[in-house]
Amino acid sequence: MTTTAPRQNARDVSRAVSIDFDGVGRAFAPERGSGAARPVLRDIDLHVEPGEVVAILGTSGCGKSTLLRITAGLDAASAGRVRIDGSPVSGIDARTAVGFQEPRLLPWRTVHDNVALGLPRGTPRSEGAVRVEKLIDLVGLGEFAGHRPREISGGMAQRASLARALARNPGVLLLDEPFGALDALTRLKMQDLLLDILSAEPTTVLLVTHDVDEALQLADRVVLLARDEGGEPGATIAQLLTVPGARPRDRGSSELAELRASLLDGLGIDRHGDGRQPLASATAPRSL
């Protein structure tokens, strides 16, 4: 199957594309000497529908960022493959755009010029300028287009970074803990902003996060990556939950509270709950 699908008119709603993980694994070469390779990820099988928002949860070091980097083509899988819109990823992929944990803006460029960096190559100048302005307005930085990154706050820089990713017109938007470095209140505002952005610029989203609430607020489905203690080395999909309800969701709903409990248990977090036994109590008895 060739991918000459009509993606020229990429600003359509139809630009969102699917992602398939076929037995993806990644092992890193040993630091030194000829020791065995260190597996980080193994046997990741997942199909993501076009336009779906999937959150990847996991403890730090479980390989969730690695999975995202493989999807972006910044890293290569050592087993299996990732397909975007049916065709395998090899190298940096023009159909994806990455929002990093840090804004990673070029300090010598204005916000406007940083966002313009995301435009696909060959975009006509005037068309690009219009698009950049529209995106800057969308993320609420209209007044700051001419500012340099050091002149704006961390949250604003992260919004600029998001606009830069969107400028690429991505079929898949990859977000690597995009709000992880922000304070709690700004993070909540950014989550709402992301939902607004996605309704204006719909696309498939893979969102790496360590924040259970963020995952439940933003995602259609949540993937929990975890290692199998005592089993094979390397993390794989431990839980795959479908989050009910249309976004934006009530942050205090009881339905979400149950999912949150299940995910926290999966992450090995003691909820200090209301006396209900944790779901994994059979394998991890709580001590007095």
Binding site: I92, A97, V98, F100, L106, P107, R168
Partner: protein
């Protein structure tokens, strides 16, 4: 006083204000007040200019007094007036203009060639691991060769013409640029480079968009050092083999016992060096404001 305690965290007992260190173990409030006071004064442009001129004026005064009272024979220390008239005399004979012109031309040519080569080689070594492995040991060895050691070889190869001098100056200008550029490129924020790659940039486009702008301030610092080196190597080249230029005027004056001219040329070199350095310094400040 928050001002005080902030400083104390970094270096207990010592407050450092604009390069000067004050012991804070005694009379803390007074010291802090003093430090703050000088801090304000030292940021005033007129103060910087006046304070910078104090030492030269003091030296000139001492010099005038010493020679006016014949404390040192004028064959060893000419009076400031003698030196001034030696300069006027050189100017009237047309020698001053031609000496300065040829020396400046050599400096600019050598500096331009050396800096351009330093930029390109520094880019290769700083950006490519293989370039680093292949080139940097040899370049480190070449840099260790004292500048004057090149002179006999250059004269044999290129004769006593412009080429040999320009090449020597280019060698002098090359290394500061090469060193700063290659080191700066190696330390460009990896995250920025990766972001550039993630947005489809690679090769020359990545270099022009991310790496080169990131090292611009270092490049300017390297150029400034290189310019100073260029003047150094110019005089070295002209002292040894030339028939024109400021270095030649020094040797010529030495042979003719014209100590007044020697003084004049030395002062002229100081002024020219400082002037060119200040020009690059202004450029550097402008770039840093714009870039960071």
């Amino acid at each position: 006083m928050t001002y005080q305690s902030e400083r104390d965290e970094r270096a207990p007992g010592v407050v450092s204000v604009q390069g000067a260190s004050y012991d804070t173990t005694e009379a803390r409030p007074g010291r802090a007040f003093l430090a703050r006071g000088t801090g304000r004064l030292t940021s005033k442009t007129w103060f910087v200019l006046v304070a910078g001129a104090i030492l030269p004026i003091l030296a000139l005064t001492t010099w005038t007094l010493v020679s006016a009272n014949d404390l040192v024979p004028s064959s060893r220390l000419p009076s400031p007036a003698d030196v001034w008239f030696a300069g006027v005399d050189l100017a009237e004979r047309g020698l001053l203009a031609s000496d300065v012109a040829i020396s400046v031309q050599r400096v600019l040519l050598g500096f331009g060639i050396g800096a351009a080569l330093g930029l390109s080689v520094g880019a290769i070594v700083g950006l490519s691991r293989i370039g680093d492995i292949l080139l940097s040991p040899s370049l480190a060895a070449l840099r260790a060769v004292p500048s004057l050691a090149w002179v006999p070889l250059l004269i044999l190869w290129f004769k006593i013409g412009e080429d040999s001098k320009v090449i020597l100056i280019a060698i002098g200008a090359f290394f500061p640029v090469y060193t700063t550029v290659s080191a700066a490129l190696r330390h460009v924020d990896r995250q920025l480079v990766e972001a550039g790659r993630a947005f489809g940039l690679g090769g020359p486009r990545l270099f022009a968009t991310v790496q080169l702008p990131a090292v611009i301030p270092s490049v300017i610092s390297g150029l400034r050092l290189a310019l100073a080196q260029a003047w150094l190597f110019l005089v070295a080249a002209e002292l040894i083999a030339s028939s024109m230029g400021l270095g030649f005027r020094l040797v010529d004056s030495q042979n003719n016992g014209r100590i007044d001219r020697i003084f004049f040329v030395i002062i002229l070199l100081a002024v020219l060096g400082k002037l060119s350095d200040s020009l690059v310094g202004l450029f550097e400040r402008w770039i840093k404001r714009r870039w960071t």
